[in-house]
C-alpha cells in the first residue's frame, strides 16, 4: 500500500509544481515549456509504477516501467538490430520512395488533366485496400526481408501525400497565377516559383499523416513473414512466449522512433512554411 500512497502523493506534488510553473515566468520561457510536459511524463510513469506494485499486477498484464526500463537496458543490441531493420530499412526507405513517387505523380496529374480523372480513383482504390490483405501479397512478391516492408509502406504513404499535394497545387490564388501570366512565365516557372511553394503547407500535412502510417505499415508487414529480427517479428514472437516486457520495450522504441520522425518533419515544416499564418509567431 505504501507504493500506491507514495505514487499518489508524488502525483499531487507534481501537479502542484506543474501548475505553479505553468503560471510563472519560467513556464513561459523555452526551458519551462519543456519542463512542464517532461514532469507530466515522469508523473505518469511514477503513478504507473505505484499502481502496478501497489495492486501486485501480473507482469503479463502490465509490467512496471522499471521492469520495461531494465529490459531495454539489458537488450540494447537486439532492440538496435530490430530498429535498423524495421525503422531505417523498412519504414524510412519506403517513406522516401512513396513520397517521391507521390510527388512525381502529383505533378504528372497536374500537367495532364486526363490523369487526374484516371489516376486519382485508382490511387483511392489502392488506399482503400486493407493493409492486412495487402501485406502478405507483397511479402510473397518481394521476399521476407525489408524490401517487402518498404513496399507496404510505399503503398500506405503514397495516397495521403498525393491527395494533399494535388490539392496544394490548386491552392495558389487566381490573381497570383494571373500575375505570373502577365510576366510571361511558362508552366514550369509558375510551378517552381508560385504553385509548389504555395502547396507546401498541404504537402507537409500529407507527410505528417504518412510518417505515422509508415511505421505502422513496416511493423504490421513483419507479422506476415520476416527474418528473425525486426520490431514486428519481435512483438509477434515475444507475445507467443509471454515475454510481455520485451513487447513493451519494443513498443517504447517504436513510439520514440515515430515521435522523432514526426518531430523532424515538424521542424522542417516550420523552416519551409515559416510564412504561413499557422507558423507565424
Amino acid at each position: 500500500m505504501t507504493w500506491l500512497g507514495g505514487a499518489i502523493l508524488f502525483w499531487m506534488a507534481a501537479w502542484a509544481v506543474n501548475s505553479a510553473v505553468a503560471r510563472s515566468d519560467f513556464g513561459k520561457g523555452r526551458a519551462g515549456r519543456l519542463f512542464v510536459p517532461l514532469l507530466f511524463g515522469v508523473t505518469v510513469l511514477v503513478l504507473w509504477e505505484g499502481v502496478v506494485r501497489g495492486f501486485g499486477v501480473q507482469p503479463v498484464i502490465l509490467p512496471a516501467p522499471s521492469l520495461i526500463g531494465a529490459k531495454i537496458a539489458g537488450s540494447l543490441d537486439v532492440l538496435w538490430a530490430d530498429f535498423v531493420q524495421t525503422v531505417l530499412k523498412g519504414a524510412l526507405s519506403g517513406f522516401v520512395m512513396g513520397v517521391g513517387a507521390a510527388f512525381v505523380v502529383a505533378i504528372a496529374i497536374d500537367r495532364v488533366p486526363f490523369l487526374q480523372r484516371g489516376l486519382l480513383p485508382i490511387g483511392n482504390f489502392v488506399a482503400a485496400l486493407p493493409i492486412v490483405g495487402l501485406a502478405p501479397i507483397l511479402v510473397m512478391w518481394f521476399g521476407f526481408d525489408w524490401q517487402s516492408k518498404a513496399a507496404v509502406v510505399v503503398v500506405m504513404v503514397f495516397f495521403p501525400v498525393l491527395v494533399n499535394l494535388v490539392a496544394g497545387l490548386q491552392a495558389s490564388e487566381r490573381m497570383q497565377r494571373d500575375l505570373m501570366a502577365t510576366w510571361g512565365a511558362g508552366y514550369w516557372q509558375t510551378l517552381l516559383k508560385l504553385r509548389l511553394p504555395a502547396a507546401m503547407p498541404f504537402f507537409f500535412n500529407g507527410l505528417k499523416i504518412a510518417s505515422t502510417l509508415a511505421l505502422i505499415g513496416a511493423i504490421v508487414a513483419e507479422f506476415f513473414g520476416s527474418p528473425i529480427y525486426g520490431m514486428g517479428f519481435r512483438i509477434s514472437t515475444e507475445v507467443g512466449r509471454l515475454g510481455l516486457d520485451m513487447v513493451w520495450a519494443t513498443i517504447a522504441v517504436a513510439a520514440l522512433a515515430g515521435s522523432m520522425l514526426y518531430g523532424a518533419i515538424t521542424v522542417i515544416e516550420r523552416w519551409v512554411t515559416f510564412w504561413h499564418p499557422s507558423q507565424r509567431h
Binding site: M175, L179, M180, W183, F274, R280
Partner: protein
C-alpha cells in the same frame, strides 16, 4: 527603341471590341462595341458601376481575357504578343505579394522570370523601392507591412521591369481615404517622372478626375463606353485642385455620364 516612339502615338487601340461570356444563365455581354484609343503618356481612368466591363477591358489589354469580336492592338501588335514582349505591368486590387518572399524578393520575381542578372535585379529593386518610398523595407516580409505599404510594393514590382504601360485595377480600392490620397499623389508623381502610359480602373469619381488626362465613363448590361472626357486640368496637380471650378465641372460631367448610362436600363 523607346525614343523612336513619339509621345502621343497610339499605344492601345480598340475597334468595335466585343466580349461575350457563356454562362449557365446564357450569354453575358461584358463588352459591346468598345472603341477607344489610348495615346503614349496618357493617364486613362475607367469609371463605372460594377459589371460595366472596366476591369474586363483592362484584362483584355493584358491578354488575360480574349475578346470575341472586334480588334485590339497594344503597341501595334496583339495583346498576347505584347504580353510576351512584357509591354505592361499589372497592379491588381490586392497586392498579391508572395508571403514566402521578402519585399525585395517579390520585386525580384518578375525580373527572375525575365532573366535579368543578379546585379541588375539588385540595382532595379533599389531604384523602384526608392520610387515608391519603401527604401529600407526590402528585407521585410509582406505580412509585416501595412496594407498601403503592401500595395506600394506591388506597384514597385510592376515598375521594376520597365514596361511602357502600367495597368492598375482599383489598386487602392481596399485602402482608407487618407492612405488613398497619399498614394494618388504618389502615382501622379510617378507618372510625371517615368512618362508611362497608365490605365487605371476605379469607381471613385474624385479619384478618376484627380488622376486622369482622359476619363472613360462606362455603363453595364451590356458593358459599353458612354462618354470619353479629355481633362483640361494641368499636369501639375496639388491635392487642393479638387476644390477648383474646373475639377468640379469635370466631376459633374462624369456623374451625368454615369447617370445616363443607368437611365436606359430602367
Amino acid at each position: 527603341m523607346k525614343d523612336t516612339l513619339t509621345v502621343g502615338a497610339p499605344v492601345i487601340e480598340a475597334k468595335g471590341l466585343n466580349l461575350t461570356f457563356q454562362t449557365g444563365d446564357g450569354p453575358v455581354h461584358a463588352l459591346k462595341d468598345v472603341n477607344l484609343t489610348v495615346n503614349r503618356g496618357d493617364f486613362v481612368s475607367f469609371i463605372g458601376p460594377s459589371g460595366c466591363g472596366k476591369t474586363t477591358f483592362l484584362r483584355c489589354v493584358a491578354a488575360l481575357e480574349h475578346p470575341t469580336g472586334g480588334s485590339l492592338t497594344v503597341n501595334g501588335v496583339s495583346p498576347d504578343e505584347a504580353r510576351r514582349k512584357r509591354a505592361y505591368g499589372y497592379v491588381f486590387q490586392a497586392a498579391g505579394l508572395y508571403p514566402w518572399r521578402t519585399i525585395a524578393g517579390n520585386i525580384a520575381l518578375p525580373l527572375e522570370i525575365m532573366g535579368f542578372s543578379k546585379a541588375e535585379q539588385a540595382e532595379r529593386i533599389e531604384r523602384v523601392l526608392d520610387l515608391v518610398e519603401l527604401k529600407g523595407f526590402g528585407k521585410k516580409f509582406p505580412w509585416q507591412l501595412s496594407g498601403g505599404m503592401q500595395q506600394r510594393a506591388s506597384i514597385a514590382r510592376a515598375l521594376a521591369f520597365d514596361a511602357d504601360i502600367l495597368l492598375m485595377d482599383e489598386p487602392f480600392g481596399a485602402l482608407d481615404e487618407i492612405v488613398r490620397d497619399r498614394l494618388n499623389e504618389e502615382v501622379l508623381k510617378l507618372w510625371a517622372t517615368t512618362g508611362k502610359t497608365i490605365g487605371f480602373v476605379t469607381h471613385s469619381i474624385p479619384e478618376a478626375v484627380y488622376l486622369s488626362t482622359k476619363i472613360v465613363v462606362m455603363s453595364p448590361r451590356p458593358g459599353r463606353i458612354t462618354d470619353v472626357i479629355d481633362s483640361p486640368l494641368p499636369k501639375e496637380r496639388p491635392l487642393d485642385i479638387r476644390d477648383s471650378r474646373e475639377f468640379i465641372e469635370i466631376a459633374h460631367r462624369v456623374r451625368e455620364g454615369l447617370r445616363a448610362g443607368h437611365g436606359d436600363e430602367v
